[in-house]
C-alpha cells in the first residue's frame, strides 16, 4: 500500500468491520441451525462441501463486484453487467461449436466484455449520458445481442478447456476462486501501486476539483467502465462453464443487482469516492452465504429475496452516518442517565 499508510488503512479496516461482522454472524447461525453446513470432504484431490460451493459461486459475483467497485467509485453505476456476461458466454460457446479453438473463444468473450464496457464508458464520458441511463441501454439491448449470437437457442458445447473454467480445481479449490484471487490481486496492484486508485477516488469525490487539478477524468471513467466490462465478460465465461452451455435468456440474470449490493455491503458509497476492493469481495461472499443459508433453511427460491432484502437493509442502515450518530447519541444519553 504505497499510497496509503497509518490511520487511513485503519479507517478502511473500520469500514470492513461491518460486512465482516455480518459474515461471522451468518456463519454462527449456520453453525447452530444448519446441520452439515461446515462439512468439507476431499474427493479426487478436490474439496467438496457447502462452504466450497459458496466460495465457488460467490467468486463469480465477487469478480463482477470488483469491476463494479471501480465504476461506482467514479460516481457511476453499471447495470449492464448481467447482459454483458450473457454476450460473452454466448460468443464463447458459439465459437467453440463452430470449431474455434478454446483460447480464441475465451479471448473473444473477454474482448467483447471490454468493448461493451468501453461502449458504456463512451456514452457516459463523451455523450454525457447519466450512467444509469447509459448502461440501461446495454442492459436491455445486450440480452438481445446474446440471443442473436445463439439464434435464440441454448448452445451446449463439449470443450474440456471451457468446462474447466467453472468446474475445474486448482490446489483443491474451485478454479473460479483462483480467478477471483488473481483479479483481486491485479486490480489492487493497479489501483494502489499506480495513481489509478487515487484518480478514481478524486473523480468520484469531486469531479470538478479533480478536473481543475488536471486529473484526466474522462479517461479514468472510461477505464473503470472497460474494466467492469472485462470482469463481466469473465463472469459470463464462468457461468456458461458451470452449465456447459450458453443460455442467453438466463445467464447473468440479476447479476447487476448482486454486484451492486456486494459493493454497497462492502462499504463503498454509491455516491462515489473512497472504495474498498476487499470489502466488495466480502460483500459478494456475504450475499452468497445468505442465499445458500435460505435455501438450506428450506426457504423457497421465490420467497428468498424478501429475507435477503431485510439483511441488506440492516447492513446499509448501519453504514449510514446519520443513523450511527443517532445510535451513538442514544447510547451516550443512556450512559448519562
Amino acid at each position: 500500500m504505497s499510497t496509503r499508510s497509518g490511520s487511513s488503512s485503519a479507517s478502511s479496516l473500520r469500514r470492513l468491520a461491518l460486512p465482516m461482522a455480518a459474515l461471522l454472524l451468518l456463519l454462527l447461525f449456520n453453525f447452530l441451525f444448519t446441520p452439515g453446513f461446515f462439512a468439507v470432504e476431499v474427493r479426487d484431490g478436490r474439496l467438496y462441501g457447502t462452504l466450497i460451493d459458496i466460495l465457488n459461486h460467490g467468486s463469480k459475483i465477487g469478480i463482477v463486484a470488483i469491476g463494479m467497485t471501480l465504476v461506482i467509485a467514479t460516481g457511476g453505476v453499471d447495470l449492464s453487467v448481467g447482459a454483458v456476461a450473457a454476450i460473452a458466454g454466448a460468443a464463447a460457446a458459439h465459437l467453440i461449436v463452430s470449431g474455434s479453438s478454446p483460447p480464441v473463444a475465451i479471448a473473444s468473450g473477454l474482448i467483447l466484455g471490454v468493448l461493451a464496457g468501453a461502449w458504456n464508458g463512451i456514452l457516459v464520458t463523451m455523450l454525457r449520458l447519466q450512467p444509469i441511463v447509459a448502461t440501461l441501454i446495454l442492459m436491455v439491448a445486450g440480452r438481445g445481442i446474446a440471443q442473436l449470437i445463439t439464434n435464440g437457442l441454448i448452445i451446449t458445447y463439449d470443450s474440456p478447456t471451457l468446462t474447466f473454467i467453472g468446474n475445474g480445481s486448482l490446489g483443491g479449490l474451485p478454479f473460479p476462486v483462483m480467478m477471483l484471487a488473481v483479479v483481486l490481486a491485479i486490480t489492487a496492484i493497479l489501483a494502489r501501486r499506480t495513481a489509478i486508485g487515487l484518480f478514481v477516488e478524486c473523480v468520484g469525490d469531486n469531479a470538478a476539483a479533480a478536473r481543475m487539478s488536471g486529473v484526466p477524468d474522462r479517461a479514468v471513467k472510461l477505464l473503470a467502465y472497460a474494466s467492469c466490462g472485462l470482469c463481466a465478460g469473465l463472469a459470463g465465461l464462468i457461468e456458461c462453464s458451470y452449465i456447459r452451455a450458453a443460455d442467453a435468456n438466463n445467464a447473468g440474470m440479476l447479476l447487476e443487482l448482486d454486484a451492486i449490493l456486494a459493493v454497497v455491503l462492502g462499504g463503498t458509497a454509491l455516491t462515489g469516492g473512497r472504495f474498498s476492493l476487499i470489502g466488495s469481495v466480502l460483500g459478494a461472499m456475504l450475499i452468497q452465504i445468505l442465499t445458500k443459508t435460505l435455501y438450506m433453511q428450506n426457504v423457497s427460491a421465490d420467497i428468498a429475496p424478501a429475507p435477503k432484502a431485510l439483511v441488506v437493509l440492516v447492513v446499509c442502515l448501519l453504514h449510514s452516518p446519520a443513523l450511527r450518530q443517532r445510535l451513538a447519541n442514544l447510547v451516550s444519553r443512556r450512559a448519562g442517565a
Binding site: T3, L198, C202, R211, S213, G214, R274
Partner: protein
Amino acid sequence: MGDQAPRAAHPTDSRMSADAPLLAVRGLQKRFGAVRALAGVDLTVLHGQIHVLLGENGAGKSTLIKCLGGVHWPDGGSVALEGRPIAPASPRDAERIGISTVFQEINLIPHMSLAENISLGREPTGPLGRIRWHEVRRRAEVALARLGLRVGVGSDLSSCSIAIRQLVAIARALDVSAKLLILDEPTSSLDRGEVAQLMGVMRRLRADGLGIIFITHFLDQVYEIADRITILRDGALVGEYDPASLPRTRLVSLMIGREYSPPIATPTPTPTLTTAPTTATTTTPSSTNGETAETVAEPSIAVAHARNLGRRGSVEGINIQIDKGQTVGLAGLLGSGRSETARLFFGADRATEGSLEIDGTPVRLRSPRQAIRRRIAMTAEDRRSEGIIPNLSVRENILLALQVHRGLARPIPSAEASRLVHDFVRSLNIKTPSSEAPVSSLSGGNQQKALLARWLATDPHLLILDEPTRGIDVGAKAEIERLIGTLRERGMAVLLVGSDLEEVVRICRRVIVLRDRRQVAELHGGRCNEREIMAAIAEHTPSHIAVGSTPQPPLAGDSGGSR
C-alpha cells in the same frame, strides 16, 4: 458609517408625500448563526421607480431580497407595502401580497412550453380540476404582450435564448398581480442587444407604475436606468442616492468602502498602509526592482504573455505580460470578468480569441492538464466546488497535482510523498491533526494552504490565485500574503485575482483593471494604488485603451432575437 453624509437625505421627502411609498423597509435585521447578514437596513421604493441595489459580495443584497420575497424571515425591523405592514411567510405568500422575485438562476422548467411555465403551479382549472389549456395559452400571450414580446407561447422553453427565458421568468412573475418586481442580476448572462431589450421591458413596466428593485454589477446599466440607488456594504446600509448627483468614482468607493479622492497629477505614496509584509507600494525605482527587469536591455522571456485574449460571451481584449518574479493583480468589481480572465490562463475555460504565449511558446490551452504540463498552477475561486477533494486526506489532496504532473504510471514513492507532505504541512503551517485527516475537516484557511501546497509541489512557473484569501481568517491571510512574497523572490510569476483592493496593491506592483468584462487599464509604479484602480473601475470612457465608446455590438450581431 458616520462619514456617509448623504444617508437618508432623500427618502425623507418621499415619506412626507401624501401617498405611502410602495415599499418601506426599516431597520431590517437577519442573522445566520454567528454571521450578521443584515444589520438594520432601510430601503424605500416608490411606485414607478427603478431602484438599483448595489453592493459587493457579502453586502447583504441577496439576504435582503430573500427577506422581501419570503425565502428568509427577518429577525427584526419592519417591511411595509403601500403603508401596510407585511411579513411574507413564503415565496408564494410574497407573490400573493404583490412582491415577485426573478432570481439569478432562472427557476423554470426547460422542457415545458412558455405558456406552461408562465402558469406553472397556478393553472386555471375547470370542473374536476381539469386544466383549461386554452386559458393557459391566452394568459401567457397577454403576459408576454405586456412585455412587448411576440413569440409562440407553445414553443419549448429550452429552444429559447437566455434573454427570452429571462423575460418569460419576468412574465411569470407579473402573471400574478405584482406591485413590486425584484430582478436579481438578470443581465449577467445576456449580450448587449439582449440587455437593451430587457431595459426596454423595465421601462415599460415602470411606466405602468410598477416598482422595480434591480440588482446588477454593471455600472453602465446602473446609470442608464436607475431612478434611485441604494448601496449596502457588509450587511449595513451605506445610503440612498440619486444617480444624477452621484459620480461613478464616488459610487465605487462607497461600494468598496474606501474613501476615494480624485487622482492628482503627482501621486504620493499611499499613506494608509499598515505594516505590510512587502514594500509593494513604494514608488522609488530602486525598490521596484522587480519591475526594472522590464526596462533593462537584456530581453527576458515572459512567463506568460496574452495578446487580445478573450472568450466569446465571457471576456475580451486581455493584454497581460507577466515576467519571472512578478506579481500582477487583476482587479475589478464583481462580474467584471476577473475570474473568467484567470481561467483562460489555466485552460479551465478555452479562449476563443487572441493568443497566449507561455515561456515564449504560443499555446492553446484546452484543459487544466495541458496548463499543468506547461507549469501553470491555479487555485480556483470556489474552494469547495473546484478546489478540495473533501473526503480524501490532506496528504492525497497535497500530492494530487504532482501526481498528475508525473503521470498515472509513476506513483510518488512513499518516502518521498511523506517527506513532501511533512515539509509542506510544516512550512505552510497547515493545522491538521494528521496528514491522513480528511481535508474537509480543516478550517477554510488551512484548506486553502493545503491547496497552495498542492500546486507548489508541482514547482510552477506561473501561479494563478483566484481570491486566495476569501473567507479565511486574518492570520491565514497574512501567512498567504507572506508566502506570495517569498515565491516572488524565488522568481515565480504570480497572477492574483482580488476583490480587496488594499490587499491587491499591497501584494502587487502592477494591476490590470477590468470593467464590464474587458480590460480597461494597466497600472504600475506610482499609479498602482487604490485611488487609481477605483478611478479606472469607475471611469466611463477609458482613455488608455482604444475601446470604442460608442456601443459596437459584435456580440449582439450574431444572436439577434431568439436563438
